[in-house]
Amino acid sequence: MSLKEWLLMQTRGGVHAPHCKHTAECETIVMPPPERVIIAMSQHIGAPCTPTVKVGDTVLVGQVVGDSDKPVSAPIHSGVSGKVTAISELLLPDGKKTDAVVIESDGEQRIHQSVKPPVVESYDDFIKAVRQSGLVGLGGAGFPTHIKLQPKDLDKVDTIIINAAECEPYITSDYRECMEYPQDIISGALTVMEYLNADRVIIAVERNKPAAITELSKIAAEVTRPGHEVFVKSLPARYPQGAEKVLIKTCTGRIVPKGKLPADVGCIVMNVNSIAFLARYLKTGMPLVDKRLTVDGSAISHPKNVRAVIGTPIRDVIEFSGGTKNKIRKLLMGGPMMGIALMDDGLPVLKQNNAIIAMTEDDVTINEPSACIRCGRCVKACPMNLAPPTIEAAYMTDDTGLQEKLGVTTCMECGCCSYVCPASRRIVQTMRLSKQAVSKSKSKS
């Protein structure tokens, strides 16, 4: 690598958050289907699904229970066999309301007839199969994968990046995929490379997971060939290394311009769980009905990785993992840097969940925010090179034009600024409000 290439791959900002990967060596334990699943009709970015079943219907494993005719959407399947007992309204962790199909499980796990390996002979077949699988970005964003795999300019795409950085503290769901199903990861990557006609697959893993790097490198070395390279890249263990734009720059040196997509610079980034799932789906035809979750946090008795049916209430997952040893004061869906605090442990597991973190009182210290001392730590920590105090000042004066000029829409809410702030200011919250103000003023004009 030349010095120039090396320099291009350097990224700024980020923080050294504690890794807390306690569950790294905990092999995934399959949780038996619960008595009742609550399947939300909005488990992805895009149009929510409408239920395709009625109360009283009998459903089987792998059967579609929700779908939408809008382009940006993905079908939702049942992970249990049983009877639909209700279609009710559910308040999602992000505050949106959606329908949910409630299924009482009969415990028999009978499989629906539609579950059979898809016939894939062309790119169009492939995209259709991806849609049917119900796959959305499993890293947390939940963007429908079939949309991601149909970029505007397909010929431009030359690089597939498999995101196994897993920079969020606590979560080891991606790591377990690397250790348990490395063959599926490589096989999925080869399939995507083939149908998208890309030149290379980069499997990006943070340096703090040497076992995964060794394991994947070994298999990658067997399948790589000129023009269709597959290789593992070890990355600095620095949060937010796995953020899409940061990852693309570290892997390829390319910068995704503001308002553009990774495909515009020739990259498609897929989570390691997504790619391995895709490989399994093409083999078995079993759609996305379960999910590996890291169950950890100071309130959890026995932290572990659990494979649970999508729709399982979080309460049941915690119960299955061995319960709590202390009272839960904060319950997170996702990691501690970007996860959402839940108001209720009865909420169901969603497709894009990868962790349940239960924190005790001790971890829930809320420091009162004090005046900004302009120390510049947030500026230094921002991977997007923003200056939060300047944006905050513009937000306070309602100057949406200036807020946009200062780049607030580039903010991905990774939380580095709030993490380092000595005055404990709610910087991410202010950035969110500022982004809302900017988009509101834009839609007005």
């Binding site: 923080v15 958050a17 504690p18 503290p169 734009k245 910068i255 311009p257 503001k258 308002g259 553009k260 009272k327 839960i328 004061r329 904060k330 997170l332 501690p336 840097m337 970007m338 996860g339 959402i340 605090a341 839940l342 108001m343 209720d344 442990d345 924190m359 971890d363 210290t365 809320i366 420091n367 004090s370 005046a371 900004c372 001392i373 302009r374 120390c375 510049g376 500026v379 230094k380 991977p383 997007m384 090179n385 923003l386 200056a387 105090p389 300047t390 200062l406 780049g407 580039t410 809410e413 939380g415 709030s418 993490y419 380092v420 000595p422 005055a423 404990s424 991410v428 919250q429 969110r432």
Partner: protein
């Protein structure tokens, strides 16, 4: 509902650093110079520091009450201001004058503008400047250190004064480094100040950008102008101001590029005042002038958000 779940916005982790912790680190970094000041100038140095700190803390406490704002005296920032103000005074200063300096720094410069984080100039430096114009005689009375060869003499000229008169300084570099020369009580011992600065850099309280660029600019400029650059960087208040006062968060730019511009400006102004101005020393004025320019510097050196290209004017 009993004991409900806590809902907060992400992130749910914090690095654990606080404003108070930072101020405590600065105080620790200032302590070698405080010890040096007592060793060099005697117990009166301690008295000046105590009076100045007491004045600043009391002013902060009372201001917050009068202004009906939440009490902020616990963040220790007023203590830092007090110590820094004392460090910028001659040891012979009447104690009541030191107290007035503290009141000016905290009440006028800091609290009237909104308190910590809102003052646009360095409180301790403005306190010093106000004292220089109010008590010119007392502020220009330079006592020689107790230590050193010239112990029998009571007062003497500072090295910078000698330099500004076009004469060669009589102090050797070792004495300048250890602080055995007349000067403000906290500014003379370069060794102690450097120790404090290294501590702050290691603790990541400050980045070394401003001190290095500031001192480097003074070094190069004085060298270009034909003076002895080593004597210049070891004399006057340069070390104290470059390490502890130009790096004040509130009154310096928040981004690295801005900090470089700021520090170069401080260095240029310092040399211009020392060489061509009517005062022998110019660090206070240079930093205060650059403090005022910080909003403009920040606007000119605004960081470019990821994925954006710098646009030319005509586009």
């Amino acid at each position: 509902m009993e004991n409900p779940l806590v809902i907060t916005s992400s992130p749910h982790l914090h690095c654990g650093m606080s404003t108070k912790g930072i101020m405590l680190d600065v105080l620790i970094a200032l302590s070698p110079a405080a010890v040096a000041s007592v060793l060099l100038f005697g117990w009166r140095a301690a008295a000046v520091i105590i009076v100045s700190v007491a004045s600043c803390v009391t002013s902060e406490y009372l201001s917050r009450i009068v202004l009906k704002r939440p009490q902020s005296v616990g963040d220790l920032s007023a203590v830092v201001t007090g110590v820094l103000l004392a460090f910028n005074l001659p040891v012979s200063i009447p104690l009541w004058q030191a107290a007035i300096g503290g009141v000016v720094a905290i009440v006028v410069v800091k609290q009237k503008f909104g308190g910590l984080g809102f003052n646009f100039v360095n409180p301790a430096l403005v306190g010093r400047i106000v004292m220089m114009s109010s008590f010119p005689k007392e502020m220009d009375n330079w006592v020689l250190p107790l230590l050193g060869s010239a112990a029998d003499a009571k007062t003497g000229a500072t090295p910078l004064y000698t330099l500004s008169q076009g004469a060669e300084t009589t102090y050797n570099l070792k004495d300048l480094f250890l602080g055995i020369r007349p000067g403000c009580l906290g500014e003379t011992c370069v060794l102690a100040l450097l120790l404090g600065g290294i501590y702050l850099v290691i603790r990541r309280v400050i980045s070394p950008t401003i001190p290095l660029v500031y001192i480097g600019t003074v070094f190069i400029m004085t060298w270009l102008l034909g003076s002895d650059p080593v004597v210049h960087i070891l004399s006057g208040g340069l070390m104290l101001v470059a390490i502890f006062m130009a790096t004040d968060y509130t009154t310096s730019p928040i981004n690295t590029a801005g900090r470089v511009v700021f520090a170069v400006g401080c260095g240029l102004l310092t040399v211009l005042i020392r060489r061509f101005g009517s005062l022998p020393e110019g660090v206070s004025f240079s930093v205060v002038i650059m403090n005022i320019l910080v909003p403009l510097i920040e606007r000119a050196t605004r960081p470019l958000p990821f994925g954006e290209k710098r646009r030319l004017k005509h586009e």
